[in-house]
């Protein structure tokens, strides 16, 4: 560390700080107020935060400086600087400022010292020599053993020439951290190689970074000797442009920020590590990480297994869907079948209902007819015996009626006897006899003992009529009666019976 560092007050202005930086070639200045540390101001703070030379230090300083104790190990300080990404640590003892420890102090090459070589000592040589520190293992070795080599066994059976060369090397010391460093270097080298490959084959993925140009800041001159100059070509100018990445000022020809690679291959611009870092970050974000074959194989295997599992799941899902579709179809067919059955049954029901309705109507009709028929009169007739006929005729008074040509003729006599007989259940026939030019009516009975017998109802006289005979000759004799021939021809020409 640098003891008793140059300090500045928070009430000082930027110009004062720049004067200190220019005069003492320091980059970080502790800010002290009333004997206490209140902050730290760096050249970077001035470049990035200052708006004018008259601005107070308190406006641009870092108010929470990172401090460290003087008894702390150097490695801790190095880690702190590395992790906090700062250039300097303020060393304090309690609250008292002791010194300032910069990045340069930590990483500067150690000076040689006088002592016993770590390599020679175990081999019996304890002479004090000028020692140099190994940058890998941090051990102190004499000049002939300062060089590093790989710690390895004799490669008796190895066919690798490099291994034999390495083994046969003289001088140096076996250094394990050296191997680690070699591995790290190889890794870095590989990464660089991969990045180079990527740049060659993946240019289309190159990120585009918009280059924003800072406005020209007209700065007041700092006197004749303090005029700003381009950091690249040292050309003095009042119209320099600040690089948006590194914050330094450049002329128009060199303001373009470039990576070292691009800078070496094209004219103009300046090599800007901040730009390169930012570009690297963007690339890391956008570029696909190139993988080793093993990683590729592993990922490919994972992909394949995942794919197989997904395909199995897909097939299983398809099988489920297939089964479900079949079931749905089955249910659909069942439903349609049941629907058809329901329709059939509905049709049958309609038909049966119609049948029932018509049958009920028919029943009602027939029932009504039955009732009517039952209410109607019944007539039971029988063929009488001859004596029954004579007895009936004797009782019947039709023959006592008086014949009248205009109102009560033979037809009336016959009708009355016929109707009276049938009202008593005796079957009787109305008989029409045809004479030449005239007709006559009598009655007839189908007797059970003497067969068909005719009677003249006007006289209750039996008539044995025959076709061609005179009717008056057919009448049976009765006591007190004598049949005489009528004035008309009564020859029987036809006999019609109406039962």
């Amino acid at each position: 560390m640098t003891k008793n560092p140059i300090t500045i007050s928070p009430d000082n202005i930027v110009r004062d700080a720049l004067d200190i930086i220019d005069k003492f070639h320091v980059w970080s200045i502790p800010v002290i107020s009333e004997g206490k540390i209140v902050g730290i101001v760096t050249k970077q703070d001035i470049d990035l935060k200052s708006k004018s030379y008259e601005q107070k230090i308190s406006d641009i300083m870092s108010k929470t400086p990172i401090t460290i104790s003087p008894s702390e190990e150097l490695s801790v300080a190095a880690d702190t600087i590395k992790n906090a990404r700062i250039n300097a640590l303020i060393v304090v003892d309690g609250t008292e400022l002791v010194g300032i420890l910069t990045r340069h102090d930590i990483y500067k090459k150690p000076l040689p010292k006088i002592g016993v070589c770590q390599y020679c000592h175990p081999r019996g040589d304890d002479t004090e020599k000028e020692l140099f520190q190994c940058k890998y293992c941090k051990g102190w070795f004499c000049k002939s053993h300062t060089e590093t080599r790989k710690p390895m066994l004799a490669p008796f059976k190895s066919t690798d020439i490099e291994e034999h060369i390495e083994w046969n090397k003289k001088g140096g010391h076996p250094c394990i951290p050296y191997i680690q460093a070699l591995i790290d270097e190889e890794k870095i080298s590989n990464e660089k190689l991969l990045q180079a490959i990527y740049r060659s084959y993946g240019k289309h993925l190159k990120p585009t970074i918009e280059h924003t140009t800072y406005p020209v800041v007209s700065r007041p001159t700092l006197g004749k000797d303090k005029t700003r100059m381009c950091k690249f070509c040292f050309k003095k100018s009042n119209e320099l442009i600040r690089c948006e990445y590194c914050g330094d000022f450049f002329c128009n020809d060199h303001i373009e920020a470039k990576t070292t690679h691009d800078f070496l291959r094209s004219k103009g611009g300046h090599s800007c590590s901040s730009y390169a870092n930012q570009l690297e970050k963007v690339k890391k974000k956008e570029e696909p990480k190139l993988e080793t074959p093993k990683e590729i194989d592993k990922k490919s295997l994972v992909f394949k297994i995942t794919g197989v599992i997904l395909v199995i799941v897909l097939l299983f899902s398809l099988w489920l869907v297939y089964n479900q579709t079949n079931e749905a179809l089955d249910q659909n067919s069942k439903l349609s079948s049941i629907s058809t059955n329901i329709e059939n049954i509905k049709n049958q029901l309609n038909s049966v209902n119609a049948d029932i309705s018509s049958t009920e109507t028919n029943i009602q009709t027939v029932y009504a007819k039955i009732q009517l028929l039952k209410s109607g009169a019944k007539y039971d007739l029988h063929n009488p015996t001859y004596s029954e006929v004579t007895s009936f005729l004797a009782k019947d008074k039709t023959n006592s009626n008086t014949y009248s040509l205009s109102s009560y003729t033979c037809a009336y006599f016959s009708k009355d006897v016929n109707n009276n007989a049938e009202s008593k259940g005796i079957r009787c026939a109305y008989v029409e006899l045809s004479f030449p030019g005239i007709g006559h009516a009598i009655v007839a009975f189908e007797t059970t003992d003497k067969g068909l017998v005719y009677f003249e109802p006007q006289y209750d006289a039996r008539a044995n009529i025959e076709l061609g005979k005179k009717f008056y000759t057919c009448l049976a004799n009765r006591p007190g009666y004598r049949w005489v021939a009528p004035s008309y021809d009564d020859t029987i020409e036809d006999i019609v019976q109406f039962w």
Partner: protein
């Protein structure tokens, strides 16, 4: 490129699985609905079948009853020349329509079927018109001509032609003087 295609394939398969599972879910819901429908239809089917069976039984019953009534009706209508009944008007119409014989035969046929009928003489000033008469239970006395089967509604004082239903004859001027009904 290969890795990208792998990724795409996996995404496609995953989408297909999601789609398939969605279909599975939707189909499942549909099957649930269908099963409910089937159950409800089955219930309806059973109900309708029971109703049909009941109605069929009832139909059988009333058909049997109808047959019994028909038998009774036929028994009531049945008869012969010794057992007569006053017919229904419908019975008379059926008989008249079927029988095309002469008046005397018609009377015989009716009586042979147990239908009581009368030989009716409708007297006019110029002579008599013989027709067949029935004393129907429902319509009272009805008269029909034989041969033409025209119905006649005779009234004393009217001309015979006016009494023939349908005015089938030319008008005559002799009026009906008497109606003689011989059973």
């Amino acid at each position: 490129m290969k890795k990208k295609s792998h990724k795409k394939s996996l995404i496609v398969i995953t989408i297909l699985i999601i789609l398939t599972l969605s279909i599975y879910y939707v189909e499942g819901e549909r099957i649930k609905y269908l099963k409910t429908e089937v159950a409800s239809h089955n219930l309806e089917l059973d109900t309708k079948q029971n109703e049909l069976d009941t109605k069929r039984d009832y139909l059988d019953t009333i058909r049997a009853e109808y047959q019994e009534n028909i038998s009774e009706f036929n028994e009531l209508k049945a008869g012969d020349k010794y057992h007569l009944h006053d017919p229904l008007y419908e019975e008379v119409l059926n008989f008249i329509e079927q029988d095309d014989s002469s008046l005397r035969e018609m009377i015989d046929n009716a009586k042979n079927q147990g239908i009581r009928c009368a030989y009716v003489l409708i007297y006019t000033g110029s002579g008599s018109y013989p027709v067949i008469g029935f004393n129907t239970i429902d319509n009272g006395m009805v008269y029909f001509e034989d041969g033409t089967d025209y119905q006649v509604i005779p009234e004393i004082g009217k001309t015979y032609t006016d009494c023939v239903v349908g005015n089938h004859y030319l008008p005559s001027y002799t009026v009906i003087t008497d109606i003689l009904t011989i059973w």
